[in-house]
Assembly symmetry: D2
Homo-oligomer: 353 residues x 4
């Protein structure tokens, strides 16, 4: 059985294991105050061409989101997110557990627009309602879509005008940077966002997310926030060493390109076979719609994640490639898709799926 369920099924890039083994016996100061974390942070600052950025290494995405949001907001303030935003649906209320409301906005493609933000602001006029203070976006979104540089700039503008922070969840950021559609560069992120994070867990690391904070209102005392929310590892260098490795010779984006390349291949096959996509996409997540019978056939050999039911006999699934995906596994999936398509055509030469 081959799994395409997610991008965190395997361990980490072998270079990370090598480094871990290499560094294992060296004594280091605790809690991320070591030389490797410093170097990894420096690499990220240099990539973003901004020496003033604060860089912190946290353990996981849910924790990172809750830590940044709780550090940024006063108790009566809220964060605006797309209805499909990870903080709204898939973090067990971690943000609310820090006391803050998530203001959810419906969105077809998982993206927030400047006008969505404006509409929320218009409705929140006085002290009987929470005060919107932050915009949370995922890039890529949970639906695999990307923001253009222009869209980010518009969000940035509406945030600036209204005193809001812009926070970008980059749990899969590598796959955005590796996409052919992408026109956002690292400097843009650091300049457009008040804070963002670079996902390690889903892009080649064992664990770890690198938070980059441009706004000093958020970064002030941020180590206290990390410690309080349980994100400060005694052996903090363990996180640093992973990002240090991933950002040497652009390994991070390079391994993401591998995943995107395989996903593109899959998208091409799906298109040729006439399987529609729930949403267009250009990163490592693919959301095809299959009839139940085709899916049943595929699931004899492959695992996917259920996304949503389309109608009585069709459903959308999520297929993830990753830095670790074997080309032959994608090959196998494509062959099977082609085969099923051919069989279908034989049985029903003029009809549709």
């Amino acid at each position: 059985m081959i799994s395409f369920q997610n991008d965190y099924s395997e361990g980490c890039h072998p270079k990370i294991l090598e480094r871990l083994t290499q560094e294992n016996w060296k004594q280091r100061p605790g809690y991320g105050t070591d030389d490797i974390c410093a170097r990894a942070a420096e690499q990220i600052r240099s990539l973003c061409a901004n020496e003033d950025l604060a860089v912190h290494f946290l353990v996981g995405g849910t924790q990172t989101n809750a830590t940044v949001i709780a550090a940024a907001l006063r108790p009566h303030q809220a964060v605006i997110a797309a209805e499909s935003g990870h903080i709204h649906v898939h973090e067990t209320g971690a943000v609310e557990a820090t006391g803050h409301k998530v203001l959810a906005v419906s969105s077809q493609d998982g993206k927030l627009r400047a006008e969505d933000v404006r509409r929320v602001l218009e409705k929140h006029t006085d002290e009987h309602m929470v005060q919107p203070k932050m915009v949370y976006i995922s890039h890529p979104t949970e639906l695999g879509t990307l923001y253009s540089r222009q869209e980010l700039a518009s969000l940035r503008a509406v945030c600036r005008e209204n005193g809001l922070y812009l926070f970008l969840d980059g749990a899969r950021l590598g796959y955005a940077m590796a996409s052919a559609e992408n026109d956002v560069v690292w400097q843009d992120l650091a300049w457009l966002c008040d804070a963002f994070y670079i996902g390690g867990t889903k892009v080649g690391a064992l664990l770890g997310e690198a938070v980059v904070i441009a706004n000093k209102e958020i970064s002030r005392d941020f180590r206290y926030a990390v410690k309080q929310r349980g994100g400060m590892l005694a052996k903090g260098w363990l996180l640093g060493v992973q990002f240090d490795t991933l950002f040497q010779n652009e390994l991070y984006v390079e391994i993401a390109k591998h995943a995107v390349h395989l996903a593109d291949k899959l998208r091409k096959t799906l298109h040729m076979c006439g399987y529609p996509l729930l949403l267009p996409g250009s990163t490592n997540q693919v959301f095809p719609v299959f009839s139940d019978s085709v899916l049943a056939e595929l699931e004899k050999d492959f695992c996917f994640t259920f996304q949503q039911r389309i109608d009585e006999c069709h459903q959308a699934v999520r297929i993830c490639t990753s830095w670790a995906t074997k080309p032959e596994d994608v090959e196998a999936l494509c062959s099977k898709l082609t085969l099923l398509c051919a069989e279908k055509q034989e049985r029903n030469p003029y009809g549709d799926q």
Copy 2:
């Protein structure tokens, strides 16, 4: 200028002022452990025909909602509410400030149905999402609508089947009980809900809400919850005395009937004049739709609360009557409406508003 903006513009029923004056110099133990609170609680228990109910007197609605919800839920649990529910939109995130997510369900008439609850439950399947544990409803709703006994029983059933609590916000409960449409009696409330509260602030008291808790999982240590959330008055008898007064000789429902009677009158006039309602209703809140010009005319003499824009030249407003509304003020409003309607007809004998 006459205000119909809300049902808390005036002070309290004169009998309450009398009682306050009468009791003023008597020394009493603090924090609601006095004889008057005991008697008021006893009256409510007896009204509900259930000697096992816990009755607590709190200060205001936002506080009451947050206190009950935080006392009932474990940190990962959430409360389901209609999108228009007071806890979701008008309490400055007070529930989230206690750490809990509000799962909002869209609803045309402000009511939640059993099937809405089921749909939320179906989506919340594992530990990556919050766990729905309570259903919050307002009765009357924020849109002035009422639950029937049957609807409450269905909600109760879905809650029971799934281990959820049913909590009813009765900030305006008196006006529900006074409505001609109402088929829910006090015993029903105590039997169908795990907890509910009887609003004082909007129905004749200076301040105060009486929480009635049937489920011992929620009532256990409830005084700790009240104290911690700032709802325990040193002079707790001040709350008790108001409910004691309001529940003597059914004063509570009687004064609510006054408000509903006046609202009915207004509804009749609106109907006769051809002004549509945003929603049908039978309590003290009326939501007529006016053209901007008619509204401008009305607002020379009367204040309403803006509800929502309908189209480019119409908007809905909320008109509230209360236990304190003077019949002559409703009379004046009705006359003006009739007059405006007549003028319009003169100008445009065959047309519409």
Copy 3:
């Protein structure tokens, strides 16, 4: 049975009841945005000779403390208090429920000194510990002691040097202002503290505390904080009218003087009879030490609050006078004390208690 258990056993000063009755039928905007609240706030600002002060009326002390503290602190910050401080022992963890640690400092007389604050700061050096950010003091303290102007100035200085807020809990502030020992004036409070509150509940009001905030970092968006923590009454004028009344013609301090005068009388009698005090004092709280047998005799006619056991046969109790205490009740207590003292001397002319 006459109770000296506390200063909130009776209702309110009759002038307040008069005003409530007078204002009862006038329609007013909700949530403290009315003319009376504005006037009451203006009176307080003028008393403090500072037009820039923010003044808000909240319902009770626990709520006020939690609201101010949560509005002022970021999540990793803590508040320093004496071990006997109300927020540390008698508010059911209300401050912790907003997410903040109370750093308790042991103190014999309930007061914090500048050096106590310094010691706490010295110990809190990095992000593995909370960050002290506020000093909380009660004036009078829970043990009836007072800060001198000089002591407050020292606290202010240490706070300033270290970027801490100074917050004064004045639940019984009137009794401090009325004390012969007091050398702090209203302007001092507004100038020395970042925030303080003027207690109504224990000094002649039915309920209500007036928060006065000098520091704009704390007052920014404070109405959101009040609403979220359940302290914003729909009929907010109910709070305003009480402070408006209490601050006309200095009624607030005048009625407090009545209480202090009676407490002084009691202290004199205790001294003459040879009953020691646990702590010296000059406000409305008296903490005499009685033998168990004397106390048993007294408790046939009077109620006190147990304070602490001194040894196997002595205990300290708290005796409270208030704005409502009848002079003849204190007279009766003094007579009984004198009588018991005389009897003792008769039985044991040369011995001690």
Copy 4:
């Protein structure tokens, strides 16, 4: 420079690195639902001879403490801890950030006694104070001391009698189990505690703590708690694999014995040289008292952690050995101590340090 500052300066036991490398490319389900986590949990259950135990793998100690405590307590409930308890002083208010008060008890040796718990219970009598509901102990304590089986049983008894949970923080549990003084076995822990955790980070793992929960009131829905508090790793097997390795062939206690053996050696040398200990001890932490001049000499080659100043010219430091400590490093330290001692004696043959 050789560091004895703590027991988390190095990476992990080489067998763990081997296993990580071995398992790296195998696809596994996420979030700790994999086969390795299951096997590691099974090993722990079998060690504790109790098949009903819930076992969960979390990332770090602060997070683990906050997660267990928040899962166990209702909002008004508090946890009792020694004043030196990690949750009270070194976790940046993480427990308070979940809304709960830590009730600190002073303790000379870092241990809590049954009578301490009783005293706290006696003082917490009503709803104006938090309700003590859990006892938190560290074993070994932060001062390196151990509980005897009898002491744990007494704590257990007082908890049982009063409806409290007993929670044991075993961040350094291995070093307790490896101590010659220890008389507590794994079964005892599972039987005496409602919950405890087995520290990985400080005993040979890269990161990770294994929580063992015997009480179903706490373990119910525990995965929700872990997710919400940011402790659920996407690659959860990373934690499982470490405990699976550490619990094969008793590696966990074996490597802890190495550390304790070296600490014992050091204690012997200190004793022979006449350097007193702040506290007796038998685990991997040693707290010698040195004169400032001796310490200055030692710090040319070795790093320790400052513990506390004893008098004007002496201070106590903490020396930690660990599973990774090189025997030759302890040898070097012992030699230097002996040398310094000899020099001192030469200079001052009859005097004292």
